[in-house]
């Protein structure tokens, strides 16, 4: 159900632009109004979600310790997987965010007769995840050439590195291939692995289809049916300088591509894609394991009813005296 629903939604989105541009001439809507709305929703929604998280405190230090604690001086601490300092936490978070360290630990369980259990090497999810996220990021950076004038040096640099194979014309970007391959893999594993298929919701398929369509339209435009990039940049620059205009004669493929990315941005704050912000706030990763060294304050700590020693002794005094246990009140 989830797959069909999500696929149909993406197809409907594509059709909507196609008809909107081709039949109804809604270039201004798809080229200016919706993009502005999308980026507005993205920014406000993103800030709202982060602040909503920030409004809940972190009452306890609950890092998942993945290495040796700071202990006796002659025992070597694992300063990254079980950090006790801010520097360690920064290193741990950097590895987590940039290299998906936790996912790198992944293994696959195999159940054999007996029953016996074996653990298989399984880094494909990590690899595809890394390939997807980094490709997407580099592709976004590359796209800055449409949104900046003059084009800053780092965009050129990224572009040159990404296209260094110099195969074909226009030259192939490595990230284009990686992006499509990774998204396809992530989709296939979601469908093929029974457990993953079982847990998948429409909200898992939808972004995948959206990204696939986004990648495909992008690749089509660059390598196959061309659009006039100079006009595209005119439109893009018009948007970012708040002097929006829609140049004549940009192919409908561009509008589809542009609409899909805007949809992704607008959808972002309402979806699981917020893991982009959430990963930084995860209390099992972003706290040092120092709660025996430093007292951490729980802002809503409140007094609770306890059974005091006095009550205890009142209850057991005779038995305690008889057993020769010291008591406060004879």
């Amino acid at each position: 159900m989830g797959i069909k629903f999500s696929l149909l939604t993406v197809v409907a989105l594509v059709l909507a632009v196609f008809l909107g541009v081709k039949a109804a001439g809604l270039q201004y809507f798809f080229g200016v109004i919706f993009p502005y709305a999308a980026i507005f929703i993205f920014l406000v929604g993103f800030i709202y979600r982060i602040l909503k998280w920030a409004r809940s405190p972190v009452p306890f230090r609950i890092p998942t310790t993945a290495g040796q604690q700071k202990s006796l001086p002659w025992i070597k601490q694992n300063k990254i997987d079980n950090p006790s300092t801010t520097a360690g936490v920064v290193a741990r978070m950097a590895l987590e965010v940039l290299l998906f360290r936790s996912l790198f630990r992944n293994t696959k369980v195999e159940l054999r007769e007996g029953p016996k259990i074996a653990y298989q090497w399984e880094k494909w999810l990590w690899l595809a995840g890394l390939a997807f996220h980094w490709s997407f990021f580099i592709i976004l950076v590359r796209h800055l050439r449409f949104f900046t004038e003059p084009v800053p040096f780092f965009v050129h640099m990224t572009d040159r590195l990404d296209g260094f194979l110099q195969v074909g014309l226009p030259g192939i970007y490595i990230t284009d291939l990686l992006f499509l391959a990774a998204v396809t893999y992530l989709f296939i594993r979601r469908v093929v692995i029974p457990q993953v298929r079982y847990i998948s919701l429409p909200a898992d398929y939808f972004p995948l289809f959206l990204l696939m369509a986004l990648g495909l339209t992008g690749v089509l435009m660059r390598y196959f049916t061309k659009v006039d990039v100079v006009k595209v940049k005119e439109l893009a620059l018009g948007l970012v300088t708040f002097q929006p205009k829609v140049p004549e004669g940009i192919g409908v493929l561009f509008y589809i591509h542009f609409f899909l990315i805007c949809t992704l941005f607008a959808y972002f704050p309402f979806s699981k894609l917020m893991h982009l912000g959430g990963v930084f706030l995860s209390p099992t990763r972003n706290l040092p394991n120092d709660s025996r060294m430093k007292r951490h304050i729980n802002p809503w700590n409140y007094p609770v009813k306890v059974h005091t020693y006095a009550e205890y002794e009142d209850h057991f005094r005779d038995k305690m005296i008889e057993a020769g246990l010291p008591v406060e009140k004879e």
Partner: protein, 539 residues
């Protein structure tokens, strides 16, 4: 006790059912759920809705506004715990956690995949607390809170041992333990606890320990082991109780006072303390290291834990030494100081024997006995004869809480390697931070849950079987009282021929005490290597 199929008859099928998880209602099969909390145990600590009921009843006797109570409780916790809010929002269902849970590996029930366990709560969260879920309902992964969903919560939140193994593999660190803890809090709002947790909580609250041992009996029991030690070593140790002015307060889980093989570990402590002449005292009021409050609610955890500092203050000790226990140390490391501190009336722990200052505990003022012993050994303060453990080929089970809630890996290994000659590690996927739960943690170590316990114990047992076959390992050591109790059952079921011990039992065996007679048996009364024939002399 429910009938447990034999190991080779246990059906494990990892294929998910044909019906979607939202449309597959929970089935309470014998051996896979725990008995309901008895009303007297809830009343004893003032928990709501005490009544006679059973999970297999149709009517759980909840108040009419139960739904409102749960949703209100969830809202309150979303505002109190960022962890919960984040974990509800950012899961991408990548499935990395799916086969990391011992209960999933051993049962194949898809709702034992950490991701689905969390989705049970998440679906209700989406339906009631997110815009998309309110409007789109099922399409957005939302689900109405119904009695059937609530029963599912009970079943699966008491099929999670809060071991945090999934959280290690999650790219966002989503911790199912956190979700289970809060899920259980919500269940407890309506009096839906299990009795194996509610009973110990009530006992601990009033009597000082989970087993409900009263002060005089507690003293008697320890003194029984004093006699036992004398029988084995000829040395009479002299523990004190509730003694004001002692330097150190020692607190360990009461399971070690009560049940084999934990009792041998307790003997190890007593011998060690005597040998180094430690100025310490036991407390009958704070006679429990463990904390089944953790398995009930944050508040209950705090209520039970409060006794440690209160007693330390009353007795005027300088610092606290804690015994070998799993979840006790998660509470001490991650919650105690925040909940019941500051412990400004105590001093930074300092070993009176070696002078080592335990800076890593400078705020909680509580040190783990294995840290303490490792330091003694490092400084050469103990005379050890590891050959007395030569009958044991030892491996070490990292208990989940000290492993993933503390990072306690090297200390016990250092001690073990100094007190026994034959030590082998289990495969790397199953130890240290990747360690597997015993299968019965977080208050699920009850007999009626036996089938599920054996299923959950499979991954650990599987690794033990590996070293048992490869290296002849016959002793599984650990630093957790629940482990000692339940791994014994799990080993009998999966890997007969492997016994379970605490680290300090092996320390006790190896410890050469001043004035001791020639030892012929170990602490269990079994002949020492080379002493097999001398049995008769005692008789």
């Amino acid at each position: 006790m429910a009938n447990v199929p034999k190991p080779n008859e246990l059906v494990i099928d990892h294929r998910p059912p044909a019906t979607g998880w939202m449309d597959t209602p929970v089935e309470f099969r014998p051996g896979t759920w725990c008995y309901a909390a008895k009303p007297k145990n809830l009343e004893a600590v003032g928990l709501p809705n005490p009544r006679e009921w059973s999970p297999i009843d149709d009517d759980w006797k909840l108040p009419d506004n139960w739904k409102q109570i749960v949703l209100e409780g969830l809202r309150e916790r979303l505002e109190k715990y960022r962890s919960l809010r984040i974990f509800m929002d950012i899961c991408v269902r990548c499935g990395a956690c799916s086969d990391k849970c011992h209960f999933f590996i051993g049962s194949g029930d898809p709702k034992n995949m950490p991701v689905l366990r969390a989705e049970l709560l998440r679906s209700v969260y989406r339906r009631n607390f997110t815009t998309a879920g309110k409007i789109l309902g099922k399409i957005a992964g939302g689900r109405e809170l119904t009695m059937s969903v609530f029963k599912e919560w009970f079943y699966y939140f008491f099929q999670c041992t809060e071991c945090r193994r999934c959280s290690l593999f999650c790219p966002y660190g989503i911790d199912t333990a956190e979700i289970t803890i809060i899920g259980r809090e919500l269940l407890n709002l309506l009096g839906c606890n299990i009795d194996w947790i509610a009973g110990p909580v009530a006992n601990c609250y009033h009597n000082g320990n989970h087993l409900g041992i009263q002060p005089h009996a507690f003293k008697d029991m320890i003194e029984f082991f004093v006699d036992e030690i004398e029988a084995v070593t000829g040395v009479r140790v002299e523990p004190t109780f509730n003694r004001k002015g002692a330097e150190i307060l020692f607190i360990t889980p009461s399971g070690d006072v009560f049940a084999d093989p934990g009792t041998y570990t307790l003997m190890g402590y007593l011998m060690l303390f005597h040998e180094i002449g430690l100025d310490y005292t036991w407390s009958t009021y704070a006679s429990e290291g463990g904390n089944f409050g953790l398995f009930t609610s944050h508040e209950m955890m705090k209520r039970l834990n409060a006794k440690m500092y209160a007693e330390a203050r009353r007795l005027g000790v300088k610092w606290i030494l804690g015994g070998e226990c799993g979840h006790m140390w998660r509470v001490i490391n991650q919650y105690m100081d925040t909940m019941n501190g500051p412990a400004d009336f105590l001093e930074v722990p300092k070993s009176p024997i070696t002078g080592t200052v335990f800076d890593n505990a400078k705020s909680t003022k509580m040190t783990h006995i294995v840290e303490f012993t490792a330091d003694l050994i490092k400084h050469g303060k103990l005379k050890l004869d590891p050959s007395r453990n030569d009958n044991h080929v030892v491996t070490y089970h990292d208990s989940c809480n000290p492993a993933r809630g503390m990072g306690f890996f090297e200390e016990p290994r250092y001690v073990l390697k100094n007190v026994c000659n034959h030590f082998y590690e289990m495969p790397p996927n199953t130890i240290r931070e990747q360690t597997f739960c015993c299968g019965s943690g977080s208050g699920l170590n009850t007999d009626e849950f036996m089938e599920m316990r054996m299923r959950g114990g499979l991954p650990r047992a599987n690794a033990v079987r590996h070293v048992h076959e490869q290296h002849g390992v016959n002793m599984l050591s650990c630093i957790c009282a629940i482990d000692r109790a339940v791994l014994t059952a799990s080993m009998n079921y999966w890997v007969p021929g492997v016994e379970v011990s605490g680290v300090h039992e092996l320390v006790g065996n190896a410890l050469v005490m001043e004035g001791e007679m020639e030892r012929t048996t170990d602490l269990r009364g079994e002949p020492l290597p080379g002493m097999e024939d001398s049995d008769d002399e005692d008789l």
